[in-house]
Amino acid sequence: MTQTVIMPQLGETVAEGKILNWFKSVGDEVREGDNLFEVETDKVTLEVQSIIAGRLSEIRIGAGVVAKVGDIVAIVGGAAPSTAPKPAETPAVLRTAPERSPFEEVSTPVENFGRAMGPDGVRATPLARRLIAQNGLDIGKLAAEAHRRGEHRIDEKAVRGAMVSQAEIVKTPTATLAAAPVRRAATVHGGDVIALNAMRLRTADRLAENWRTIPHVFQAIEVDFTALDRVRQQRKDGFRKTQDFSLTYLPFIARATCLAIQAFPQINARFTGDSLILSRDVNLGIAVDLSHNGLVVPVVRNAGDLTLVGLAKAMNRQIDKARTGKLTLDDLSGGTYSISNNGAFGTTFTAPIINAPQVAILSTDAIKLKPAIVSTPQGDFVAARLMGMVGQSFDHRAFDGAYSAAFLSELKRILEERNWGDELAENS
């Protein structure tokens, strides 16, 4: 009996993935739970494990090739690689890597990059085999070249030689194979060169594309957080006790954003070129800086349905997952609106780049005491108030400045005037 291995559904909005390398070779026994292949999407790199057992009889999509979700990438079972098998209906799915046993002091990599003996009696070193697999090279061709040179071994040098015309080859220590490769090249003209990993390069491409194609307009409004902060100060100790994390300003801003979107639904939409598709749900992306080593935007789903406390918990969970590297593709996809929060660094305002196909992105910055004019029936006074900027970059193709400004004004009103004490009380 033969079974197919298909490119798994890596996340709701992911249509394809590039196979970085195969951990098994044709002919290898595959057990349930074995790592089969590593796949890279524009968001993350994941190891795909087998849910079936048998002999790997054919690899249809080799390393370095992009496959669509649902494509058959390999066949397990069956007689010979050449016989075209009739696929069964058991697709491979994602699983997290198994935990390491405490008795396993030394970890032997479970990956396999093929046999030492190549074609024509030429042997390939372990490093050469790994590089061949990871860079999608043809070992037959390399073997033939080695043969022509009168050599019987393919080593790293030979592989590099074959790659000269192509991009620089990836060489990551096996100990860190699961992570996206980061290469540090030699010093050039007195400065360190940091080669960028695939995720960073995709981010760079996407940001440049968004900046180039979307007519950005940035607006900011100054918000008085004094009343809100009074409630926050009263409740934060109790909150910390019951929830085990701190109640920051961010959940308030996120909650107010969800409420303001109810009145301004076009903010929470996708721009398709000839239409604006309003999203029923608010799936709120929260930009998280990974200690200056990258930026991810995990999504809190159905944020509009959550209370302030529920939202705080959901955001904390996603931020935590981001910082501990536990985000899955689903966590990173499907956002309808995003918030970028730079307050921790004391900035006054930030003009963020829109995360297409979303049409707007909110930025929040430092909230600090400032002299402000307070109007009262007795006259205008200067008072120390907790002030902060809330800004929005929006796609001018989707709507105009007045719409965005009205949204920001509504957001300001909610932040300043909502009875936050009630909302916290009913949930705490």
Partner: protein, 328 residues
């Protein structure tokens, strides 16, 4: 702060003195270590400085030395015990293999054994088969014992301090052939970290891991390899076998793709075999060729000058082996 040029043997005395001055619980005992200043003159001046209560000569009984040291450690002192020749650890091996190393475990942590066994290890000084062995591997195979083997005066001082301050027994292998070698040692207190290797020479073509006397030979070989054969070797001084700095070694192999060990011990079960095993396990797909161990053959070490020199790995042998393997 100045820098002094010290011999390896002076560094031993300096390291012990630094710790005895710092902590009055540190005591020192062994054969002829007090008034005579040690048979290798590595402990000169300690008796005069710290007196007969803290620096004690013992009878010629290795079991008595380690038994007394262990008892002292169990009852609150931080003893340093000298076993004159590392070969003699075999005489008191029960204490090392069964008692000190297992005390914390057997008492469920109620007792600890914070002591240091200093011992003159290794060959190259014509002492013959029973006084020249390189026995780091005898000690590193015992769970519950830490093992260091410094190659330079500054490492002697720093690792001695780390060993004395450790909560568990540490075997401190001093190399007899290094006692007369010199190196710069900064003034002031020096404390190193157990379980850390040092990259002494950066290189891109292959990694050489060496220990103790073999470190200087590996460095000399690396210079020749670069100069005459264009092979750029990275040289790592392992320094500490237990705990072992696998991160530095694996990181280097990931960079160079090749690993050589230079070991003074006879070939079978030498410390390099363990490193080769770890690298084969954890960095197999970084290897661009076989791991090669350069060792003394599996023989009792001869006393005759030319035979001993022939048996121990020399810089010339290291160069020759690496050159042939790398170009083969």
């Amino acid at each position: 702060m100045g820098v002094a040029e010290l011999t390896y043997r002076d560094a031993v005395a300096r390291g012990i003195a630094q710790e005895m001055e710092r902590d009055s619980r540190v005591v020192f005992l062994g054969e002829d270590i007090a008034k005579a200043g040690g048979v290798f003159k590595a402990t000169v001046g300690l008796y005069e400085k710290f007196g007969p209560l803290r620096v004690r000569d013992t009878p010629i009984s290795e079991q008595a030395i380690l038994g007394a040291a262990m008892g002292a450690a169990m009852t609150g002192l931080r003893p340093i015990a000298e076993i004159m020749f590392a070969d003699f650890l075999a005489v008191c091996f029960d204490y090392v293999a069964n008692e000190m190393s297992k005390l914390r475990y057997m008492t469920n942590g109620q007792l600890a054994c914070p002591l240091v066994i200093r011992t003159g290890n290794g060959g190259g000084v014509r002492f013959g088969a029973q006084h020249s062995q390189s026995i780091e591997n005898w000690t590193m195979m015992i769970p519950g014992i830490k093992v260091v083997a410094p190659s330079s005066p500054v490492d002697v001082v720093g690792l001695m301090a780390a060993a004395v301050r450790d909560q568990d027994p540490v075997i401190f292998h001093e190399h007899k052939a290094l006692y007369a070698t010199k190196g710069e040692v900064p003034d002031g207190e020096i404390v190193d970290t157990l379980g850390t290797a040092k990259i002494l020479r950066a290189g891109s073509d292959c990694t050489i891991v060496a220990l103790a006397l073999m470190v200087s030979r590996a460095l000399e070989a690396a210079d020749t390899l670069k100069r005459e054969h264009g092979i750029d070797a990275e040289v790592i001084d392992a320094r500490s076998l237990v705990p072992l700095d696998t991160k530095t070694i694996l990181g280097s192999v990931a960079k160079t793709g090749r690993l050589f060990t230079v070991e003074e011990n006879p070939r079978l079960c030498g410390w390099g075999a363990e490193i080769a095993s770890i690298v084969a396990d954890e960095a197999f797909w970084d290897l661009d060729g076989p791991i090669v161990r350069i060792t003394t053959p599996h023989i009792p070490l001869p006393a005759a000058d030319h035979l001993e020199d022939l048996a121990l790995p020399s810089a010339a042998r290291i160069v020759d082996k690496i050159r042939r393997v790398m170009n083969g």
